[in-house]
Amino acid sequence: MTGIPGRPLAHVLGTAQVPMRTRLPDYTYADLLGRVAYKAIADAEVEARDVDGLILAMSPTTPLGLDEPQYWGIAGLPGAHRFLGRVHILAASSLAAFRLACSYVASGRKKRVLVVAADLADEVPSLTGALGQLHDPFTDKQVVRNAIVSAATQMAVYMARHKLSERIMAEVVVKNRGNGVLNEYAQLRQAITLDDVLNSPVMTWPMKRLDSSPRSSGAAAILVGDEPVQPSRTAVTATGFGSYAGGRFVGSRMVPEDSAYFDGSDLAEAANRAYATAGISDPAEQIGLAEVYASFGILELLSIEALRLNNGGNAAELIRDGRFHRNSALPVNPSGGATCGSPISSTGLIRVIEAVTQLRGEAGDRQIDVKTPRAAVSAIAGAFQTHEVGILEA
């Protein structure tokens, strides 16, 4: 968005999430939305009748077994009678929905917009199979390619380019699993070692099971508004967004000229757009923490570099050397990230919630030392096909 760099586009008024688990049999999809919606407005101390817009992030629906779930899901939610639509861009859905909510507030059309998302990942026998329904039947389906294979390919290229061992590549998930121990909402809360990662089953070389996020059910909600409502609470605002559609069927990208799939340069362009709007010229200095969507460790490495948080050097070795850990100058994924739980529709909102919670100093046991009160959040749809970056400031 254009305008004065760093100008608040919308204020984050309230947030809510539920502890992530493989299964959440106590709740239906509609129940999960209801719980986080009312928890978020309670967090904001806002009445349901004062919410004048509702956006649902939901993608994909194949694991849920229900098309157009917005009809069922919105009954009784704050803002339901002013539903603004469903946003559907795979794992980038809820960050894009958050961006749209901020647009409605920034444009002056709405005062308070609630964004909600929920996932039930265990109601279909094969999550991989359900997600596989999304691939183009002509360019993708004949190839044994799914999210795991895509990320493994990126991992293999990254290792070859930087001449890295599998051991160094495992540092990022060990970092995140350590962070997850302190996060009450994380699905995985046990620390692991490098040897644990290396000894875990190979899914598609070099991707091992512990390099990958678990299958996660969860839900999240965020209320944004045109002005803060809780004077005693640190105000957090969204100050910039960047969106970039690489938009290619992966089968048509395996050509020498197209390196974006391997180097994350499309995400870098999305980040550049967000930084330009937020008035950031040196992200490594001006960003205090980052929550980046990374269902596989390699995505976090590429995201750190694409967001220019590294100032040279590859992210894998920097993490080995202590950078981006929770006690460093620029922690990445202090929540544990998607490594510790990744409900696909909700994950973008969860990145924002974690950033907001840290910026507010409300993270309890997992609170980091925020050296600069500015956070970057990012999400990737598909296999580096569309990208969203957001900047939040306290």
Partner: protein, 137 residues
Amino acid sequence: MFRHSAGRLGSYYLTAIRTQKRLCGWQTVSPSRLSVPPRDFGTKGEWTDIGPGAELLSFAPSEWVADSGEAVLRDFVLGRVLVDGAEVPLFVLVKLNGADGKRGLRLSVRFAKGHTGTGVDFWFEPVSASASEGAQS
């Protein structure tokens, strides 16, 4: 292929229909509403009985959907009713038994002898029908 969990509240609601032949709703203060079927908003609530009477608001004529291959049960129509004690209408199965189906027709709930754990375990019939519980068609 899919296995859907009805959730804590939904399971209570469906079990009450199956074992207690009882329709109920989930009454919450925040939001202030009686949800039938129940919705979990993470806030305190309590179960409130509704029915057994209801008022017919509208229904889908069988001849308008018979050629569509839709899964509408024989002898039943889809109806919208306002159950006594409920606040808002809901979709239910209705067995008109030749009645006119006009808005305002008084109905009474019937429960299946067997159960599926879904909305087919109960339906509504005009109050002039037999007072005994009927078997599912």
